[in-house]
Symmetry: C2
């Protein structure tokens, strides 16, 4: 199933693992998308709403780093959310460079309408794994995600 690459044993092992990891997340996200649990908001929009919902109002820059997206990108995503009335921008009174992003009523209810189904879909997708497999996956991902130099 992997590639037709021929290399050292370590290279083969790494490529094989990498491809399985990539395919796994790809098809997992595809299946989640197909379930359409998010309704008419996009995954990015969901991520932003969800972050603000759980953490509270944040600076636009804080939202970017929470959601692991670039700042320039966050501008457009929040533009669209604001256009749809789901969030509200507010200039900081003291430091007028920063913008605070708040959920509106509509944003809160939109998220609350969507969140349970999303979580249920996740639980269902992951139910193919045993508890110990989930723990192992979590631990290995944590290690791999952290990387070498992040001491």
């Amino acid at each position: 199933m992997p590639t037709h690459f021929t290399g050292s044993r370590a290279e083969m092992r790494t490529l094989d693992t990498f491809i399985k990891l990539t395919r796994c997340t790809n098809s997992l996200f595809t299946r989640l998308t197909e379930r359409n649990t998010l309704g008419d908001i996009t995954p990015s929009q969901f991520a932003v709403l969800e972050a603000i919902y759980h953490i509270g109002s944040m600076t636009q820059g804080e939202v970017s780093s929470k959601v692991l997206k670039s700042g320039s990108n966050m501008t457009t995503v929040i533009d669209n959310l604001e256009r749809d009335g789901l969030v509200r921008r507010e200039r900081d009174a003291k430091d007028r460079r920063v913008i605070h992003v708040h959920l509106t009523e509509a944003g809160t209810s939109k998220l609350e309408a969507v969140l349970p189904g999303h979580i249920a879909a996740l639980v269902e997708e992951f139910s193919i794994l045993s508890v110990s497999e989930m723990e192992a996956l979590g631990n290995i991902c944590k290690k791999l995600g952290k990387g070498r130099e992040s001491k």
Copy 2:
């Protein structure tokens, strides 16, 4: 580190695992991008070149499904690759709906120039895991990627 969500134990465990998986692949891909091992081609372009390089000339639709991207997307990616002379389109003589995509000389050398560094970067990133961890990760991902209904 996960979210502030409060739910059943199964929900918490699932969310925690999901977030670790997502963060892991996110930061892994970010680090790979920062290494800039692909030079001036994009990840999508690399994926297409790599697929054709290893599997051989393919129909545009076959490339789409290999790379797990939509057909409409593949049109533009291959447009850009063709513009840069890395790939060549060729109508099928018998079935004129079909387009075969071939690597050009330039495409082959571009890929061969870039592939070793890419693999080396992968090996380095994954070297933080032990062999048995890589195997466990691969197996769990295979299971999770396959999903419930794909018997």
